[in-house]
Subunit: 175 residues, 4 copies
């Protein structure tokens, strides 16, 4: 991957996350990447191809993040790590941008990509079962739905206090 190609990906990620996919013109991306507009098409064929490349990169990131949670044998840890996933997602500016884009894209393109969450949901179901909960599958889904709610708020509500709400939720799960 050449440096310019990486610049394009980075610029596109930033702009798509800030202004949305449709609202970001390829010329804006090129300008921010310090690159001729044509180069975008040489490397990614399409504007859609550029988006795909970003999403693909995202799936890799998500896999890594999930792997650490899913493979933990301690059920309490699985739950704790899931809840803290949100905080890790926004640890640095680049990560935050990346995850914000994931949600923006979901809404703009209306694809949830539930299959990506499946391993995590299964691991959580398992964890809740081990801990003796009556409806482990529902508990698992519930906690993940929570994460979507938190993301919605964190990314859209300027002064949203993510940290304290996550702490509060943790107390609910006795963590």
């Amino acid at each position: 991957m050449t440096e310019k190609k990486e610049n394009i990906l980075k610029a596109a990620l930033e702009l798509f996350a800030q202004e949305g996919f449709k609202s970001t013109s390829t010329s804006k991306v090129a300008k921010r990447a310090g690159v001729s507009e044509g180069l975008i098409f040489r490397h990614f064929e399409n504007k859609d191809g550029l988006l795909d490349a970003i999403i693909k990169e995202g799936e890799e990131k998500a896999k890594l993040l999930f792997a650490d949670i899913v493979l933990d044998p301690d059920p309490k840890e699985v739950i704790r790590k899931t809840l803290e996933m949100g905080l890790r997602m926004i640890g640095n500016k680049e990560d935050a941008e990346f995850w914000k884009l994931q949600y923006k894209i979901k809404w703009e393109l209306e694809i949830y990509g539930e299959h990506k969450m499946e391993p995590l949901e299964l691991a959580l179901t398992n964890a809740f079962a081990k801990l003796g909960h009556a409806h482990p599958a529902l508990e698992a889904r519930y906690i993940l739905v929570n994460m979507d709610g938190l993301a919605t708020r964190y990314f859209l509500q300027k002064d949203f206090d993510l940290q304290s709400l996550i702490n509060f939720i943790k107390t609910k799960y006795c963590i």
Copy 2:
């Protein structure tokens, strides 16, 4: 409000909800509304004005919905009604479209409109306080964050079972 003006609003609501604001051209709106393109601008000045009109209509709807909840003196009822709000939102096709649009717009324009939720959050805080919860404000926020998560899933995940998850949450609040 003339019939044509209403057609425009209806067409715009449908299209904005389906394809997003940016992706919907005024000509598409006009075509679906069975109206000349110019008429949109006579009635709403610009495309943004059309969106504003739709959002404004939305606030009215939301106020009505919230009023019923906020004014209930029974704290358990406040919580129950809040949880069931989601089901009411999607009772008919038009309502579902309307609420889906609200979320799409939020993500596309990145305005959460937290002020609209304030009365409801206060009422919930109050309710949890009456019921003796330790952190009524956090409980209130938590439950609303949940609603956003549910909406995210319901609108984006094709086979999401909203009903059973709401029922499950109700049991958590002993309702």
Copy 3:
């Protein structure tokens, strides 16, 4: 048909005939027509649509031209008119442009449109049969192939003397 729409058709005909379809940009057409580029697409949807419109106009013209020949009961007249068709095609600048375009398009798009010639070929076959020729169908085809050759030369060879060659051919058919 508004005046501007006609200007577009006229400008496009001229430019397509002079420089070819592919080599003529829509912006050039718009400029020559004294019209905004967007208007071309409002009226004709596509650059291809613009070409189609021109071709369709052409078919009408050709029909009129052929009708006069085909309907003549005198076989000698049918042949004479066919041979002189070439001269009529180039009677004025606009007609010449039009017919030149027809040939340019044929070669650029590789569609001969043989069905358009069928009535004429039949009429000629008939005429040669009446005159007692041994192979009327071949004579008919031969004379039409000649016309294509004449057009090729007339439009591509700067100093080609169409008139005298047509006169010469006429003597071959004793006309």
Copy 4:
């Protein structure tokens, strides 16, 4: 001439003949030739240079073809060979492509290259004179115009029966 240079010429000939000069991008040529795009410019300077090279090759081929006709002392043979030239042009796929390109180029660039035909026209004039025709120059031109008509039909009309029409023309010249 290196192998790659020949590949380029071959690919360009094929593509220019199929899709036209303007419609064929240098990148398409490079791809079909299995060569980097830059190499085209190293060998031919520009796209026009590539076309020139192809045309120049064509003139050589035409010279060879004409030489055999022009040098024949028997006037009947000159005429016969001229008439059969068409069939020889399309003997194999590569030849057909080559000659088709010559015509496509003529129409796309509007250069007839009449000088190339001059020797042949003179030889034909001579032949018709020897045979005692009244207007040998016109006869010569007429027969060549016919060839252009035949080429037009053969290359553009899918089901055109070249052979039988050439045979028919031969009978006209008592050959």
